[in-house]
Amino acid sequence: MKIKLKIWRQESPDSKGGLVDYELDGVSKEMSFLEMLDYLNTTLIERGEEPVAFEHDCREGICGCCSLFINGRPHGVGAEITTCELRMTAFENGNTIVIEPWRAKAFPVIRDLIVDRSAFEKIMQAGGFISANAGAAPEANSIPIPKELADEAFDAAACLGCGACVAACPNASAMLFVSAKISQLALLPQGEVETKRRARDMIAKMDELGFGACSNIGACEAECPKGIEISHIARLNRAFVASAF
């Protein structure tokens, strides 16, 4: 099939970018979305043009690299999928596809569709860890943990750090990401002890880096490829309130 593309091109962080139109013939429904971009890049290289820079790694929904804003939504259409899991079956012959990078002050564009997401690492370095030296891996059953808590912590730990929550949020807030990291640690006995400090420090870093404040809109949850729920944000808020005492 033949599709039209509108892709954000930007040479460097400081240069002025813009949407560029492409027409791509010979796209098959069997392609994944990223294969379609690979195919576009092959044709661009053959024509002697610069290929479109986009980020990808695992191509199986576990690394969180493939951050593309497709037709107005992070990771495109479809619930709980990353861009690499998006197939061209989602599109029809003649469709126009608009591809933009994540838009947030804290995620500056490096080139074309690639943004710098190291702000997330900085938030983690500010508090997303356990400071006790845990030694070698302990015997798994020595600290019993209720199944429901283990499940909830595990669900939170599924967060990829992809940044779709920030991209989807009208406030460019990182609260869903931060709350997933808080829950993943706060629900388990080893992480629980430092919850207050962790919440305070991670929030302070998040603010400093220029992410917005959550106004409980819920767009993050709707677009998160791992189904992280905003009830984690409520837990983060509780931890933050507790940190005042």
């Binding site: 939504r73 305070r200 302070a204 809109i217 009830s231 409520a234």
Partner: protein, 224 residues
């Protein structure tokens, strides 16, 4: 404490607490309004009692401060949120998962504020400055607020503005109620939907309750 209230969540806590306080006040205000239905004498008595009650004179400044804090902090948080996305998307599709009201709280708040200015200037200030008709209740001369209010409710443009403003208020509350609860951390996976339901129900009751009076008095005068 300064790092606490200076943090984004701290500022939102201020918006949430002041907002929830105003939400409660709306219910009290509505109950007072509904005594209009009980007739001229009852309403004037209640109004007179309100005007002379020392508790009311304490609550009034608290309310004013609550309102100003709510407006000030919401505006501040919203403006810093705009700065968090300097470059907008070419195409942004809010898809599922978020309501129109949740994305437009500042706009709704502004519209409600505009109505509030009209409301206060057309009613409260007139009462305060003594520029109101008088009525005789059981031998005591008091301001005939009933006559003032019902006269307003005969004006088509005023009733229409009032009803539209209450519609916006309902939308603002429908998001504000559960949003405030969530910011205070009082929600979880189980309670979330209950809060949303409760908040929606409350907003409908409040909005419909306020709309009822102008519509009722307008129809009563204009239907013969």
């Amino acid at each position: 404490m300064s790092t606490f209230l200076g943090a984004s969540i701290g500022r939102k806590l201020i918006v949430a607490v002041s907002g929830l306080f105003l939400i409660l006040f709306l219910a009290v205000h509505l109950v007072v309004n509904l005594t209009l239905l009980a007739g001229q004498e009852t309403y004037n008595m209640v109004a007179h009692w309100m005007g002379t009650n020392p508790a009311v004179s304490v609550i009034q400044p608290v309310l004013t401060v609550g309102l100003l804090v709510h407006i000030g902090y919401s505006a501040y948080v919203s403006l810093s949120n705009w700065r968090a996305r300097p470059q907008p998307y070419y195409w942004s599709d809010p898809a599922g998962g978020s309501t129109w009201a949740s994305r437009n709280m500042l706009l709704l708040g502004g519209l409600i504020l505009a109505f509030l200015v009209l409301h206060i200037s057309s009613f409260s200030i007139r009462v305060k400055l003594g520029d109101a008709p008088m009525a005789d209740i059981g031998g005591v001369m008091t301001k005939d607020l009933y006559a003032m209010v019902t006269a307003r409710f005969e004006l088509g443009w005023y009733v229409l503005t009032y009803v539209v403003a209450m519609f916006f208020l309902g939308l603002h509350l429908a998001h504000g109620f559960h949003s405030g609860i969530q910011t205070l951390g009082l929600s979880d996976g189980t309670w979330r939907n209950r809060w949303v339901l409760l908040g929606t129900g409350y907003s409908i009751v409040i909005a419909a309750g306020y709309m009822l009076l102008p519509i009722y008095f307008f129809l009563r005068t204009h239907s013969g």
